[in-house]
Protein backbone atom coordinates (compact mmCIF):
# COMPACT_ATOMS: atom_id res chain seq x y z
CA UNK A 1 0.00 0.00 0.00
CA UNK A 2 2.88 2.39 0.74
CA UNK A 3 4.18 2.03 -2.77
CA UNK A 4 0.72 2.53 -4.27
CA UNK A 5 0.14 5.65 -2.17
CA UNK A 6 3.49 7.02 -3.17
CA UNK A 7 3.00 6.66 -6.90
CA UNK A 8 -0.64 7.79 -6.81
CA UNK A 9 0.09 10.93 -4.79
CA UNK A 10 -2.48 9.73 -2.22
CA UNK A 11 -5.12 10.16 -4.89
CA UNK A 12 -7.60 7.38 -4.12
CA UNK A 13 -9.21 7.41 -7.51
CA UNK A 14 -5.91 7.17 -9.27
CA UNK A 15 -4.83 4.38 -6.91
CA UNK A 16 -7.98 2.49 -7.85
CA UNK A 17 -7.30 3.05 -11.51
CA UNK A 18 -3.73 1.75 -11.22
CA UNK A 19 -4.82 -1.37 -9.40
CA UNK A 20 -7.60 -1.93 -11.91
CA UNK A 21 -5.14 -1.67 -14.78
CA UNK A 22 -2.85 -4.13 -13.02
CA UNK A 23 -5.72 -6.57 -12.43
CA UNK A 24 -6.83 -6.24 -16.00
CA UNK A 25 -3.36 -7.06 -17.35
CA UNK A 26 -2.40 -9.85 -14.88
CA UNK A 27 -4.45 -12.77 -16.32
CA UNK A 28 -2.95 -12.26 -19.77
CA UNK A 29 0.56 -12.23 -18.28
CA UNK A 30 -0.21 -15.35 -16.28
CA UNK A 31 -1.47 -17.20 -19.38
CA UNK A 32 1.62 -16.27 -21.32
CA UNK A 33 3.89 -17.45 -18.47
CA UNK A 34 2.01 -20.76 -18.31
CA UNK A 35 2.30 -21.22 -22.05
CA UNK A 36 6.05 -20.57 -21.89
CA UNK A 37 6.38 -23.04 -19.00
CA UNK A 38 4.44 -25.71 -20.85
CA UNK A 39 6.60 -25.26 -23.91
CA UNK A 40 9.67 -25.32 -21.62
CA UNK A 41 10.84 -22.22 -23.46
CA UNK A 42 13.38 -20.86 -20.98
CA UNK A 43 13.97 -17.62 -22.84
CA UNK A 44 10.23 -16.90 -22.93
CA UNK A 45 9.90 -17.85 -19.24
CA UNK A 46 12.66 -15.37 -18.38
CA UNK A 47 11.03 -12.60 -20.44
CA UNK A 48 7.60 -13.17 -18.91
CA UNK A 49 9.06 -13.35 -15.39
CA UNK A 50 10.83 -10.05 -16.07
CA UNK A 51 7.61 -8.47 -17.28
CA UNK A 52 5.54 -9.69 -14.32
CA UNK A 53 8.33 -8.61 -11.96
CA UNK A 54 8.24 -5.04 -13.27
CA UNK A 55 4.47 -4.72 -13.02
CA UNK A 56 4.43 -6.21 -9.53
CA UNK A 57 7.24 -4.01 -8.26
CA UNK A 58 5.50 -0.96 -9.67
CA UNK A 59 2.37 -1.51 -7.60
CA UNK A 60 4.32 -2.62 -4.52
CA UNK A 61 3.80 -6.41 -4.72
CA UNK A 62 7.32 -7.04 -3.45
CA UNK A 63 7.10 -10.74 -2.67
CA UNK A 64 5.79 -11.48 -6.17
CA UNK A 65 8.52 -9.28 -7.67
CA UNK A 66 11.16 -11.16 -5.68
CA UNK A 67 9.86 -14.58 -6.78
CA UNK A 68 9.79 -13.40 -10.41
CA UNK A 69 13.35 -12.12 -10.13
CA UNK A 70 14.43 -15.55 -8.92
CA UNK A 71 12.54 -17.30 -11.73
CA UNK A 72 14.03 -14.93 -14.33
CA UNK A 73 17.56 -15.52 -13.03
CA UNK A 74 17.22 -19.30 -12.98
CA UNK A 75 15.67 -19.38 -16.46
CA UNK A 76 18.49 -17.22 -17.84
CA UNK A 77 20.94 -19.64 -16.24
CA UNK A 78 19.23 -22.41 -18.20
CA UNK A 79 17.42 -24.05 -15.29
CA UNK A 80 13.83 -25.12 -15.67
CA UNK A 81 12.47 -24.65 -12.12
CA UNK A 82 8.91 -25.91 -12.33
CA UNK A 83 8.33 -25.47 -8.58
CA UNK A 84 9.41 -21.88 -8.68
CA UNK A 85 7.15 -21.21 -11.67
CA UNK A 86 4.22 -22.71 -9.72
CA UNK A 87 5.03 -20.48 -6.73
CA UNK A 88 4.95 -17.44 -8.99
CA UNK A 89 1.52 -18.48 -10.26
CA UNK A 90 0.24 -18.92 -6.69
CA UNK A 91 1.67 -15.61 -5.56
CA UNK A 92 0.09 -13.88 -8.58
CA UNK A 93 -3.28 -15.30 -7.61
CA UNK A 94 -2.77 -14.12 -4.02
CA UNK A 95 -1.74 -10.62 -5.12
CA UNK A 96 -4.68 -10.33 -7.49
CA UNK A 97 -7.08 -11.41 -4.76
CA UNK A 98 -5.59 -8.89 -2.36
CA UNK A 99 -5.81 -6.11 -4.92
CA UNK A 100 -9.41 -6.97 -5.71
CA UNK A 101 -10.13 -6.50 -1.99
CA UNK A 102 -8.33 -3.19 -1.97
CA UNK A 103 -10.35 -1.99 -4.95
CA UNK A 104 -13.57 -2.92 -3.14
CA UNK A 105 -12.41 -1.19 0.04
CA UNK A 106 -11.46 1.95 -1.85
CA UNK A 107 -14.76 1.92 -3.69
CA UNK A 108 -16.62 1.54 -0.38
CA UNK A 109 -14.74 4.27 1.46
Amino acid sequence: MDRLRKISFDDTEFMQELVAIYLDDAPQQLRELQAAAEAQDLSAIADKAHRIKGGAANVGAESLAALCAELERSARRGENQVDLEKRVEEEMARVSARFSEIVRELAGS
Binding site: R3, K6, I7, S8, F9, F14, E17, L18, I21, Y22, D24, D25, D47, H50, R51, K53, G54, G55, A57, N58, V59, G60, A65
Partner: protein, 341 residues
Protein backbone atom coordinates in the same frame (compact mmCIF):
# COMPACT_ATOMS: atom_id res chain seq x y z
CA UNK B 1 7.70 20.35 -22.39
CA UNK B 2 6.49 17.15 -24.03
CA UNK B 3 7.54 13.74 -22.69
CA UNK B 4 6.96 10.41 -24.41
CA UNK B 5 6.49 7.38 -22.12
CA UNK B 6 7.09 4.00 -23.77
CA UNK B 7 6.21 0.83 -21.84
CA UNK B 8 4.41 -2.37 -22.79
CA UNK B 9 3.19 -2.75 -19.19
CA UNK B 10 -0.01 -0.68 -19.00
CA UNK B 11 0.14 -0.12 -15.24
CA UNK B 12 3.76 1.01 -15.38
CA UNK B 13 2.98 3.24 -18.38
CA UNK B 14 0.02 4.74 -16.53
CA UNK B 15 1.85 5.42 -13.26
CA UNK B 16 4.95 6.87 -14.93
CA UNK B 17 2.92 9.06 -17.27
CA UNK B 18 0.67 10.34 -14.48
CA UNK B 19 3.74 11.20 -12.39
CA UNK B 20 5.27 13.05 -15.33
CA UNK B 21 2.03 14.92 -15.94
CA UNK B 22 1.75 15.96 -12.30
CA UNK B 23 5.22 17.43 -12.48
CA UNK B 24 3.98 19.79 -15.17
CA UNK B 25 4.98 18.04 -18.39
CA UNK B 26 2.79 17.16 -21.35
CA UNK B 27 2.69 13.40 -21.79
CA UNK B 28 2.25 11.00 -24.69
CA UNK B 29 2.11 7.25 -24.07
CA UNK B 30 2.99 4.48 -26.50
CA UNK B 31 3.00 0.76 -25.70
CA UNK B 32 5.64 -0.38 -28.17
CA UNK B 33 8.77 0.94 -29.87
CA UNK B 34 7.44 1.23 -33.47
CA UNK B 35 4.48 3.35 -32.30
CA UNK B 36 6.88 5.50 -30.26
CA UNK B 37 9.14 5.97 -33.28
CA UNK B 38 6.31 7.02 -35.57
CA UNK B 39 5.31 9.71 -33.06
CA UNK B 40 8.91 10.96 -32.81
CA UNK B 41 9.12 11.18 -36.57
CA UNK B 42 6.02 13.35 -36.85
CA UNK B 43 6.11 15.40 -33.64
CA UNK B 44 8.79 17.25 -31.72
CA UNK B 45 8.91 15.34 -28.41
CA UNK B 46 12.23 16.19 -26.77
CA UNK B 47 12.20 13.76 -23.81
CA UNK B 48 11.65 10.01 -24.04
CA UNK B 49 11.17 7.74 -21.03
CA UNK B 50 11.40 4.20 -22.31
CA UNK B 51 11.20 0.72 -20.87
CA UNK B 52 14.01 -1.61 -21.88
CA UNK B 53 12.42 -5.06 -22.27
CA UNK B 54 9.49 -4.93 -24.62
CA UNK B 55 8.10 -7.60 -26.96
CA UNK B 56 9.37 -7.07 -30.50
CA UNK B 57 11.60 -4.03 -30.64
CA UNK B 58 13.18 -3.16 -27.28
CA UNK B 59 14.21 0.15 -25.76
CA UNK B 60 17.84 -0.18 -26.83
CA UNK B 61 16.79 -0.61 -30.45
CA UNK B 62 14.44 2.40 -30.20
CA UNK B 63 17.27 4.46 -28.73
CA UNK B 64 19.63 3.47 -31.56
CA UNK B 65 16.96 4.47 -34.07
CA UNK B 66 16.63 7.88 -32.44
CA UNK B 67 20.39 8.40 -32.51
CA UNK B 68 21.00 7.18 -36.05
CA UNK B 69 18.19 9.21 -37.62
CA UNK B 70 18.87 12.92 -37.59
CA UNK B 71 15.73 14.37 -36.04
CA UNK B 72 15.35 18.14 -36.23
CA UNK B 73 15.87 18.48 -32.47
CA UNK B 74 17.77 16.71 -29.71
CA UNK B 75 15.93 13.82 -28.09
CA UNK B 76 16.87 13.16 -24.48
CA UNK B 77 16.42 9.45 -23.78
CA UNK B 78 15.97 8.04 -20.28
CA UNK B 79 15.68 4.29 -19.72
CA UNK B 80 13.26 3.21 -17.01
CA UNK B 81 14.36 -0.30 -16.27
CA UNK B 82 14.77 -2.93 -13.58
CA UNK B 83 17.96 -4.04 -15.31
CA UNK B 84 20.64 -2.80 -13.00
CA UNK B 85 23.76 -4.81 -13.82
CA UNK B 86 26.90 -2.88 -14.60
CA UNK B 87 26.94 -4.23 -18.17
CA UNK B 88 23.30 -3.18 -18.66
CA UNK B 89 24.24 0.38 -17.75
CA UNK B 90 27.13 0.32 -20.21
CA UNK B 91 24.96 -1.15 -22.96
CA UNK B 92 22.21 1.47 -22.50
CA UNK B 93 24.65 4.39 -22.51
CA UNK B 94 26.47 2.96 -25.53
CA UNK B 95 23.16 2.73 -27.40
CA UNK B 96 22.80 6.47 -26.87
CA UNK B 97 20.80 6.74 -23.64
CA UNK B 98 21.30 9.94 -21.67
CA UNK B 99 20.19 8.57 -18.32
CA UNK B 100 18.67 5.59 -16.50
CA UNK B 101 16.06 5.33 -13.78
CA UNK B 102 15.67 2.14 -11.79
CA UNK B 103 12.33 0.32 -11.73
CA UNK B 104 10.27 0.46 -9.58
CA UNK B 105 10.71 4.17 -10.11
CA UNK B 106 10.81 6.72 -7.34
CA UNK B 107 8.65 9.76 -8.21
CA UNK B 108 11.02 12.32 -6.71
CA UNK B 109 14.01 10.82 -8.51
CA UNK B 110 12.00 10.80 -11.73
CA UNK B 111 11.21 14.46 -11.26
CA UNK B 112 14.85 15.37 -10.57
CA UNK B 113 15.99 13.53 -13.68
CA UNK B 114 13.26 15.14 -15.80
CA UNK B 115 14.46 18.55 -14.67
CA UNK B 116 17.98 17.64 -15.78
CA UNK B 117 16.55 16.52 -19.12
CA UNK B 118 14.60 19.76 -19.48
CA UNK B 119 17.72 21.81 -18.75
CA UNK B 120 19.77 19.95 -21.36
CA UNK B 121 17.01 20.13 -23.97
CA UNK B 122 16.58 23.89 -23.44
CA UNK B 123 20.32 24.42 -23.62
CA UNK B 124 20.49 22.44 -26.85
CA UNK B 125 17.60 24.43 -28.33
CA UNK B 126 19.32 27.72 -27.42
CA UNK B 127 22.58 26.58 -28.98
CA UNK B 128 20.77 25.42 -32.09
CA UNK B 129 19.00 28.76 -32.45
CA UNK B 130 22.26 30.62 -31.95
CA UNK B 131 23.99 28.44 -34.55
CA UNK B 132 21.14 28.95 -37.04
CA UNK B 133 21.26 32.70 -36.52
CA UNK B 134 25.02 32.71 -36.99
CA UNK B 135 24.75 30.68 -40.19
CA UNK B 136 22.06 33.01 -41.51
CA UNK B 137 24.15 36.09 -40.76
CA UNK B 138 27.19 34.52 -42.33
CA UNK B 139 25.27 33.80 -45.51
CA UNK B 140 23.95 37.34 -45.47
CA UNK B 141 27.43 38.78 -45.02
CA UNK B 142 28.83 36.50 -47.69
CA UNK B 143 26.10 37.66 -50.04
CA UNK B 144 26.73 41.32 -49.22
CA UNK B 145 30.46 40.97 -49.67
CA UNK B 146 29.82 40.04 -53.30
CA UNK B 147 27.31 42.72 -54.25
CA UNK B 148 27.99 46.32 -55.11
CA UNK B 149 25.58 48.24 -52.86
CA UNK B 150 25.26 51.19 -55.24
CA UNK B 151 24.54 49.42 -58.52
CA UNK B 152 22.98 46.27 -57.07
CA UNK B 153 25.13 44.03 -59.27
CA UNK B 154 28.09 41.79 -58.41
CA UNK B 155 31.28 43.52 -57.31
CA UNK B 156 34.89 43.00 -58.31
CA UNK B 157 35.34 40.05 -55.91
CA UNK B 158 32.25 38.35 -57.36
CA UNK B 159 33.58 38.97 -60.88
CA UNK B 160 36.98 37.48 -60.03
CA UNK B 161 35.47 34.23 -58.80
CA UNK B 162 32.87 34.07 -61.59
CA UNK B 163 35.33 34.63 -64.42
CA UNK B 164 37.75 32.10 -62.90
CA UNK B 165 34.99 29.52 -62.67
CA UNK B 166 33.90 30.11 -66.27
CA UNK B 167 37.52 30.15 -67.46
CA UNK B 168 38.36 26.85 -65.75
CA UNK B 169 35.29 25.30 -67.33
CA UNK B 170 36.23 26.60 -70.77
CA UNK B 171 39.92 25.71 -70.33
CA UNK B 172 38.96 22.08 -69.77
CA UNK B 173 38.01 22.14 -73.44
CA UNK B 174 34.28 22.13 -73.04
CA UNK B 175 33.27 25.68 -73.89
CA UNK B 176 34.18 29.21 -74.82
CA UNK B 177 33.34 32.50 -73.13
CA UNK B 178 33.54 36.21 -73.73
CA UNK B 179 34.43 39.19 -71.55
CA UNK B 180 33.11 42.68 -72.27
CA UNK B 181 34.62 45.67 -70.50
CA UNK B 182 32.32 48.71 -70.54
CA UNK B 183 33.07 52.25 -69.48
CA UNK B 184 30.62 55.12 -69.25
CA UNK B 185 31.61 57.86 -71.69
CA UNK B 186 32.43 61.24 -70.11
CA UNK B 187 31.19 60.09 -66.74
CA UNK B 188 33.20 62.76 -64.94
CA UNK B 189 31.12 65.44 -66.67
CA UNK B 190 27.88 63.95 -65.30
CA UNK B 191 29.33 63.84 -61.80
CA UNK B 192 30.49 67.45 -62.15
CA UNK B 193 27.11 68.53 -63.51
CA UNK B 194 24.68 66.56 -61.36
CA UNK B 195 26.76 65.88 -58.27
CA UNK B 196 27.68 62.47 -56.97
CA UNK B 197 24.07 61.54 -56.17
CA UNK B 198 23.12 62.28 -59.74
CA UNK B 199 26.10 60.26 -60.93
CA UNK B 200 25.03 57.37 -58.72
CA UNK B 201 21.54 57.45 -60.19
CA UNK B 202 22.99 57.31 -63.70
CA UNK B 203 25.09 54.28 -62.78
CA UNK B 204 22.05 52.47 -61.41
CA UNK B 205 20.02 53.13 -64.53
CA UNK B 206 22.91 51.97 -66.72
CA UNK B 207 23.09 48.69 -64.78
CA UNK B 208 19.35 48.25 -65.47
CA UNK B 209 19.88 48.90 -69.17
CA UNK B 210 22.82 46.49 -69.34
CA UNK B 211 20.66 43.83 -67.74
CA UNK B 212 18.14 44.22 -70.57
CA UNK B 213 20.91 43.79 -73.16
CA UNK B 214 22.51 40.61 -71.84
CA UNK B 215 21.19 37.06 -71.92
CA UNK B 216 19.94 35.36 -68.74
CA UNK B 217 23.13 33.28 -68.60
CA UNK B 218 25.38 36.35 -68.79
CA UNK B 219 26.29 38.34 -65.71
CA UNK B 220 27.46 41.91 -65.13
CA UNK B 221 29.72 43.21 -62.37
CA UNK B 222 30.94 46.60 -61.29
CA UNK B 223 34.62 46.50 -62.18
CA UNK B 224 35.63 49.95 -61.04
CA UNK B 225 34.25 53.47 -60.65
CA UNK B 226 32.18 53.72 -63.84
CA UNK B 227 33.26 50.43 -65.36
CA UNK B 228 31.08 47.38 -65.83
CA UNK B 229 32.40 44.00 -66.90
CA UNK B 230 30.17 41.36 -68.46
CA UNK B 231 30.93 37.64 -68.47
CA UNK B 232 29.37 35.79 -71.38
CA UNK B 233 29.47 31.99 -71.19
CA UNK B 234 29.38 29.73 -74.24
CA UNK B 235 29.88 32.38 -76.93
CA UNK B 236 32.88 33.12 -79.15
CA UNK B 237 34.18 36.56 -80.13
CA UNK B 238 31.47 37.39 -82.74
CA UNK B 239 28.79 36.13 -80.34
CA UNK B 240 30.13 38.20 -77.46
CA UNK B 241 30.34 41.20 -79.79
CA UNK B 242 26.63 40.83 -80.61
CA UNK B 243 25.79 40.90 -76.90
CA UNK B 244 28.05 43.94 -76.36
CA UNK B 245 26.41 45.76 -79.26
CA UNK B 246 22.97 45.02 -77.84
CA UNK B 247 24.09 46.35 -74.44
CA UNK B 248 25.54 49.50 -75.97
CA UNK B 249 22.26 50.20 -77.81
CA UNK B 250 20.20 49.54 -74.68
CA UNK B 251 22.20 52.11 -72.72
CA UNK B 252 22.03 54.60 -75.56
CA UNK B 253 18.25 54.24 -75.75
CA UNK B 254 17.64 55.29 -72.14
CA UNK B 255 16.44 58.83 -71.73
CA UNK B 256 17.64 60.36 -68.47
CA UNK B 257 15.91 63.12 -66.59
CA UNK B 258 17.40 63.87 -63.21
CA UNK B 259 15.48 65.27 -60.25
CA UNK B 260 16.94 68.75 -60.15
CA UNK B 261 16.82 69.21 -63.90
CA UNK B 262 14.16 68.74 -66.53
CA UNK B 263 16.49 68.58 -69.51
CA UNK B 264 16.50 65.05 -70.91
CA UNK B 265 19.83 63.61 -72.04
CA UNK B 266 21.38 60.31 -73.08
CA UNK B 267 24.43 58.47 -71.77
CA UNK B 268 26.66 56.22 -73.84
CA UNK B 269 29.19 53.52 -73.07
CA UNK B 270 32.25 52.18 -74.86
CA UNK B 271 32.88 48.45 -74.92
CA UNK B 272 35.93 46.24 -75.44
CA UNK B 273 35.36 42.56 -76.20
CA UNK B 274 37.66 39.54 -75.93
CA UNK B 275 36.87 35.85 -75.97
CA UNK B 276 38.44 32.57 -74.97
CA UNK B 277 39.75 30.46 -76.59
CA UNK B 278 41.62 32.47 -79.18
CA UNK B 279 44.60 34.68 -79.88
CA UNK B 280 47.00 32.07 -78.42
CA UNK B 281 46.16 32.68 -74.79
CA UNK B 282 48.65 30.83 -72.67
CA UNK B 283 47.28 28.30 -70.24
CA UNK B 284 46.59 29.81 -66.86
CA UNK B 285 43.94 32.16 -65.59
CA UNK B 286 41.48 34.50 -67.28
CA UNK B 287 43.74 37.56 -66.78
CA UNK B 288 45.03 37.76 -70.39
CA UNK B 289 41.45 37.69 -71.70
CA UNK B 290 40.45 40.51 -69.37
CA UNK B 291 43.57 42.42 -70.39
CA UNK B 292 42.66 42.10 -74.10
CA UNK B 293 39.10 43.29 -73.41
CA UNK B 294 40.55 46.26 -71.54
CA UNK B 295 42.83 47.14 -74.48
CA UNK B 296 39.88 46.87 -76.87
CA UNK B 297 37.93 49.22 -74.58
CA UNK B 298 40.81 51.69 -74.72
CA UNK B 299 40.73 51.52 -78.48
CA UNK B 300 36.93 52.06 -78.50
CA UNK B 301 37.55 55.22 -76.49
CA UNK B 302 40.24 56.38 -78.89
CA UNK B 303 37.96 55.73 -81.83
CA UNK B 304 35.44 58.22 -80.50
CA UNK B 305 33.46 56.35 -77.81
CA UNK B 306 29.92 54.92 -77.90
CA UNK B 307 31.16 51.90 -79.81
CA UNK B 308 32.18 48.27 -79.49
CA UNK B 309 35.71 47.16 -80.39
CA UNK B 310 36.73 43.50 -80.43
CA UNK B 311 40.20 42.25 -79.60
CA UNK B 312 40.82 41.12 -83.19
CA UNK B 313 40.80 44.80 -84.21
CA UNK B 314 43.79 45.50 -81.95
CA UNK B 315 47.22 46.06 -83.52
CA UNK B 316 49.90 43.40 -83.07
CA UNK B 317 51.64 45.54 -80.49
CA UNK B 318 49.23 46.69 -77.82
CA UNK B 319 51.21 49.61 -76.44
CA UNK B 320 49.04 52.68 -75.97
CA UNK B 321 50.89 54.44 -78.77
CA UNK B 322 50.23 51.61 -81.20
CA UNK B 323 46.56 51.47 -80.25
CA UNK B 324 46.28 55.26 -80.66
CA UNK B 325 47.88 54.99 -84.11
CA UNK B 326 45.59 52.11 -85.12
CA UNK B 327 42.53 54.01 -83.89
CA UNK B 328 43.53 57.10 -85.90
CA UNK B 329 44.19 54.98 -88.98
CA UNK B 330 40.79 53.29 -88.80
CA UNK B 331 39.09 56.66 -88.42
CA UNK B 332 41.04 58.08 -91.37
CA UNK B 333 39.76 55.21 -93.48
CA UNK B 334 36.18 56.31 -92.89
CA UNK B 335 34.55 58.58 -95.45
CA UNK B 336 34.95 61.98 -93.76
CA UNK B 337 31.87 63.94 -92.95
CA UNK B 338 31.51 67.23 -91.16
CA UNK B 339 30.86 65.74 -87.79
CA UNK B 340 33.92 63.52 -87.56
CA UNK B 341 37.27 65.09 -87.09
Amino acid sequence: MRVLVVDDDPSAARSVSETVRRFGFEVDVRFDAPAAWSLLESDAVPIVLTDWNMPGEDGVSLCRRIRSNQLAYYTYVIFVTSRSQHEDLVQALSAGADDLIAKPFDPEELRARLLVAERIVQLEARLRRAADELRRRNEDLDQRSRVDPLMGIGNRAAFDSKVREIHDWAASGRASYGVVMCDVDHFKCYNDTFGHRGGDEILRRIADAVQLGIRSTDSQFRYGGEEIVIVIPDLDLPGAKRVAERVRRQVESVEFVLENSDVPFRVTISCGVAAYPGEGYATGGPEPVIERADQALYMAKRKGRNRVVTSDELPASTSREEIDRAARASLAALPMSGSIR
